[in-house]
Symmetry: C2
Subunit: 349 residues, 2 copies
């Protein structure tokens, strides 16, 4: 019988953050693709687009006028999925099948800069530092609202990721409850902390730094790696090296280091297929429920859909929805590919 | 303070099958869409396509020749995500962070019929019954393989769902382990069964039939409903009314009733936006691990991505990936829309 070779044989890997498995099929990377191709947008965007509802000075969908902002700019989402209004609710003795509860929250949009054409990899470091400081301020302000217990900072980049406006921006959805994925993560972090009196993600990072097989970029304060249990082809995670539970704990040196690693990672992503690389990213950190959270460690997920080229993505569909996430190339292979990519943006070469 | 109105106010609903919540934002259905539009394929397909690797008598990607099949036709997936080969594996004392294990399995493709142009809603009932009997046979044959403990039957329909060939077909991935989503479901079904000595899904179905708010179609043996906790805009579930743990328990009357409700549901789907409606569907039923599974109840999920039109889908992206699933229209609204749709296919009107 053949001995198990993790680089060759179909296998499952376990994600200890959310207690789920992923099916890895290394041999499947070679299958031909006759399916859907994504549209590739190659037109250079203008610095300012008079029709864009996010550009400075323009009118938004709801009639409000954006100020002539000069760095990052935050406003309330005009079509928020959650509302601030308090709602009177009495849980009645309904059967377990129909469990529902009102949810209060605040949703905001964060324009990265007035420039309609500058995505993260193309911004300068001070500009990215400004975004990080904006995230800090929003985490603090929203977290201080009495009914807000969780602040989700995220970005959908590219139309393939449901982004409806190419002006570089992210979003923040702050709400009363811990969202499902965050609750799962917190449960795992807590269980590990209680068992080992130690931080799961920091311990994991130590192991990864030793092995140096899945590390993509590293600086004094942060590392980028492809998690052992990554599901998306080029999924990565940025982890802070120091024990930091939330973004507001960063020193100014850490803010610079974070800006720098964000820029490098997104440059590598753009260089991979020489395209403005689509992804959804998001920060996972301690909730704002007023409790201590030593089990948490600041980290940022990047979930990019592209698999083989600028136009062929991985579809998480039938088997993945009914069964479990499935990937074709190994995380080690992806990490090696990303690591080898230039740190100079392809447009500047 | 305003009283909670589940039809108007943002809220969360709980899915007792997988213990996850979904964020429901009824008021958000009206937001304008400036994002990606899906390509609409309106060209009528030929009955036979000489270039199709699934049509009868044609050569497949790996050089094999399909027989001149006349009803449904099953073959081994040429690019299977799992392999049959046994693998020698000794779990070593690695830290919990790097948990991996080889996975054995068999992957098959099920062509629904020789007709390149006939999707489920357009097939005749005997043709659909043949597919159901094929699923029964595959469940039995694959389930009897000693190392196979789970048989996942599913379909990806439409290029937006990653389907790479328009010739109507489904897939079967059979494997040693219970996939993540199935394991979660089984844990919930088991816990409920142990607590109540009763079947979660059958009890749920009783309540839904009484309320009659989310029932889309019903016949003597099956019901189609939009689950209270549905995440996709027009998600549905087919449940058998009798306690049936697996597809092989169907009587011939039930096979007919299942074929009929499958056809009606997919006709309604096509009628919704007058398009060949994309979805991923899959059957959840008892594993083939040789144990009794009274907690299981046969059901089939349909996860269709379209939201507002044939070209605008719901994106499960940043917030959904980092936080939790989010939907805009309520399941009750979707059920009412689907229920009101004609049972005659729009092409035949
Ligand atoms: O097997 P196919 O049709 O080539 O591929 C499709 O279905 C599979 C199972 O859901 C997915 O893993 C693939 O991403 C998808 O493109
Ligand atoms: O808020 P946007 O950018 O209009 O919308 C996008 O992001 C949201 C949050 O991930 C999703 O719910 C939407 O499906 C997606 O299109």
């Amino acid at each position: 019988m053949k001995n198990f070779d993790i680089n060759e044989d179909p296998h499952r890997r376990f994600n200890p953050l959310i207690n789920e498995w992923v099916l890895v099929s290394p041999h499947r990377a070679t299958r031909p693709w006759q399916g859907q191709n994504e549209k590739i947008h190659t037109d250079a965007l203008p610095e300012y687009d008079p029709a864009c509802y996010l550009c400075a000075g323009n009118v938004r969908a709801n009639g409000e006028v954006n100020p002539k902002y000069e760095s990052s700019f935050v406003f309330e989402n005009d079509f928020a999925a959650v509302k601030q209004e308090p709602i009177l609710f009495e849980e009645d003795a309904k059967p377990t099948f129909f469990k529902a509860q009102p949810e209060r929250g605040i949703a905001r949009v964060v324009c990265f800069s007035p420039r309609h054409d500058l995505t993260l990899p193309e911004m300068d470091l001070p500009g990215i530092e400004t975004i990080i400081k904006t995230w800090q301020k929003e985490y603090t302000d929203l977290g201080n609202v009495d009914y807000i217990n969780h602040v989700q900072i995220f970005e959908n980049k590219g139309s393939v990721m449901g982004c409806s406006n190419p002006h570089p921006h992210g979003q923040i959805w702050a709400q009363s409850s811990l969202p499902t994925q965050v609750e799962k993560t917190q449960n795992s972090l807590k269980a590990y902390f209680e068992k080992n009196n130690s931080n799961l993600l920091l311990d994991y990072l130590q192991e990864e730094l030793k092995l140096n097989e899945r590390i993509v970029i590293e600086n004094e304060h942060f590392a980028v790696l492809v998690p052992f249990w990554a599901i998306w082809p080029f999924e990565t995670m940025i982890i802070s090296k120091r024990h930091i539970t939330k973004i507001t704990e960063f020193t100014s040196e850490e803010i610079s280091a974070y800006a720098s690693i964000l820029k490098l990672l997104t440059i590598k992503y753009d260089n991979l297929f020489e395209t403005s690389f689509p992804y959804s990213s998001g920060i996972h950190q301690a909730p704002t429920d007023g409790e201590e959270h030593p089990e948490w460690q600041f980290h940022m997920h990047f979930y990019p859909p592209l698999l083989r080229s600028a136009s062929v993505k991985k579809f998480m569909v039938g088997y993945e929805m009914m069964g479990e996430a499935q990937r074709d190339i190994t995380p080690e292979k992806s990490a090696a590919v990303l690591k080898a990519l230039s740190e100079v943006h392809y447009k500047n070469k």
